[in-house]
Symmetry: C2
Subunit: 253 residues, 2 copies
C-alpha cells in the first residue's frame, strides 16, 4: 500500500474494497492465510485493497494478493458482496489509533497527519461495499511474504481463526460455505494440492473439507468419474506396500 499520497488521490474507486480469503491445505487441515497488522493490539485483517479506475475487479483481486502476500497465479473465485450501510472500519481504526497514540509522529502519522493522513482517515472510515474473493493455493508452493504493514502473516486452521477486524470472520465463513456448496459443480478443490498427488491425498483433502469420512474404493470411483484427472506413473515411497498412482489435474482452473 502506497502511503506517500492520500488514498483518495490514488485513483481508486471510492467506497469499494476487495477482501481475499486464501485457502490452503496442510497436514489434513484446511487453513486460511491471515496477516496480523503491524500495530499494538491484535489486529488480524484479511488481505484487502481497493480497485484502480483502470483495473478490472478480478485483476484488482490478483494484484492485492500479490502485493500483500507475494502470491500470484492462483485459482480465484468471486463469492459474495457485503454491503450493509453500517459497514465501516471506524470502530476498528479508532481502537487501533487509541492503542498506538505514542506512535503518532512515526507509523500512524499516515492516519492522522493533516497533510495526507486526515484525508486517509476520512477515506478509511467511510462506509465500504466489499467484494469477497476466495483463492485456492498449493500451500507448499506459495511463499507468503509479509509487507511493512504486517507484523506477521500466518496460516490458521479454519476452526481456530483469530478474532478478526470488522466482519472478516463472517466473510471467511461465507467463503467456506460457498466453496463447499459449489465444489461438486466446479471440482476445484484439487487446486489446494501439489501438482501431482495420490488418490489418498485427494481423499484426505475431501474428508477435511467436508469433515466426514469416505470409503477408499468408492471415493476413487467417484473422483475418477469426474474425468478431470489423468493418471501418471506410480509413486515409490520406499514403504513396504503397493505404490500408489500419481494423478494430475487435466485442466488447470
Amino acid at each position: 500500500m502506497n502511503i506517500s499520497y492520500p488514498l483518495s488521490e490514488q485513483g481508486y474507486i471510492q467506497q469499494l474494497s476487495i477482501d481475499c480469503v486464501i485457502f490452503g491445505y496442510q497436514d489434513q487441515k484446511l487453513k486460511v492465510l491471515v496477516p496480523k497488522l503491524n500495530f499494538k493490539g491484535s489486529f488480524f485483517a484479511l488481505p484487502s485493497g481497493f480497485v484502480y479506475q483502470d483495473e478490472d475487479i478480478d485483476a484488482a483481486a490478483r494484484r492485492i494478493l500479490r502485493e500483500r502476500t507475494g502470491i500470484k497465479d492462483v485459482y480465484l473465485e468471486q463469492f459474495y458482496v457485503t454491503g450493509k450501510a453500517s459497514r465501516n472500519s471506524k470502530a476498528f481504526l479508532d481502537q487501533l489509533i487509541e492503542l498506538n497514540v505514542e506512535l503518532i509522529g512515526s507509523k500512524s502519522e499516515d492516519l492522522t497527519d493533516e497533510r495526507s493522513g486526515a484525508n486517509d482517515y476520512v477515506w478509511f472510515t467511510r462506509r465500504f461495499v466489499s467484494i469477497g474473493y476466495y483463492a485456492l493455493v498449493d500451500i507448499s508452493k506459495v511463499v507468503a511474504q509479509k509487507t511493512d504493514l504486517d507484523e506477521s502473516i500466518e496460516w490458521y486452521e479454519v476452526g481456530h481463526l483469530p478474532q478478526m477486524i470488522m466482519d472478516h470472520n463472517e466473510i471467511i465463513g461465507k467463503a467456506l460455505e460457498t466453496f463447499r456448496l459449489t465444489l461438486d459443480q466446479k471440482g476445484n478443490a484439487f487446486n489446494l494440492l501439489t501438482e501431482t498427488f495420490t488418490m489418498k491425498d485427494a481423499q484426505q483433502l475431501y474428508e477435511t473439507i467436508y469433515e466426514k469420512q469416505y470409503a477408499r474404493n468408492n471415493f476413487q470411483k467417484k473422483i475418477l468419474d469426474l474425468d478431470v484427472l489423468e493418471r501418471l506413473e506410480k509413486k515409490f515411497t520406499g514403504a513396504a506396500n503397493k505404490a500408489p498412482y500419481l494423478y494430475r489435474l487435466l485442466r488447470k482452473g
Copy 2:
C-alpha cells in the same frame, strides 16, 4: 430518479450500481421484465440504480425495483458482480444524445445542462461496478408500472429478449445460469407461481426452466420429498376429470 439535483450530490456511493433481473412465468414461458427508455432509438435497459450512503445494498435493490417497476415484497437474490475496467455507459449515452439532439432544452437537458446535467453526464459515463440481483415474482400479482423515464415496460421471453444496452444481455444470461444452478439447493422457483398452484403447474414450470420433460408421477414424488409444500383442498375446474390438489409454499422466501 430525482433529477432536481445533480446525481453526484444525491448521496450515492460513486461508481457502484445495481442491476435487477426480474423473472416472471406465464403461459409456460420464462420471462424478464424489461423497460424501454423514453427516448428516440431502441434503448432497453435493466431496472438499475445506485446505493445511498445510508442504505444496505439489499435495500437499495428493493428500492430500485419498487421505484422503477412498482414491484415490492419479492424474492430477491444477489448473483454476480461485473467489474471490467472498460465497463461504462459512454457509448450508450452518446448514442442516445445523438439520436435525441432536438430534445435538448426539454427532456435531455438533465444530461447536458450546465447547471446540473454536465455533472450528471460525468457521473453516468464513469466506469461502474455493478452488483446483479435477480428477483422471482408472481407475474399475475405484480403490476409493473413504468415511470417517466420509460416508454414501456414489458415482459420478454428469455429466448426472445431485445438487444439491450451495455452488457445487460450478458447479465441476464448470468442471472439465468445462476438461477438454474442453485434451484436444486434453494428450491426457490415456486416464487414464480401464484400463491396456490397445482402439481401440474409446478411441473410445467420446471420443464420451462430446464427445457426438458419430467414424468408426472416421479416429478410429484421428487417435489413433495422437498418438504416445502403443503397440500390444500382440491381445485374444481369444471373439467371432466379428477380435481387436482392445490399446494402452497410453506416457508415464503
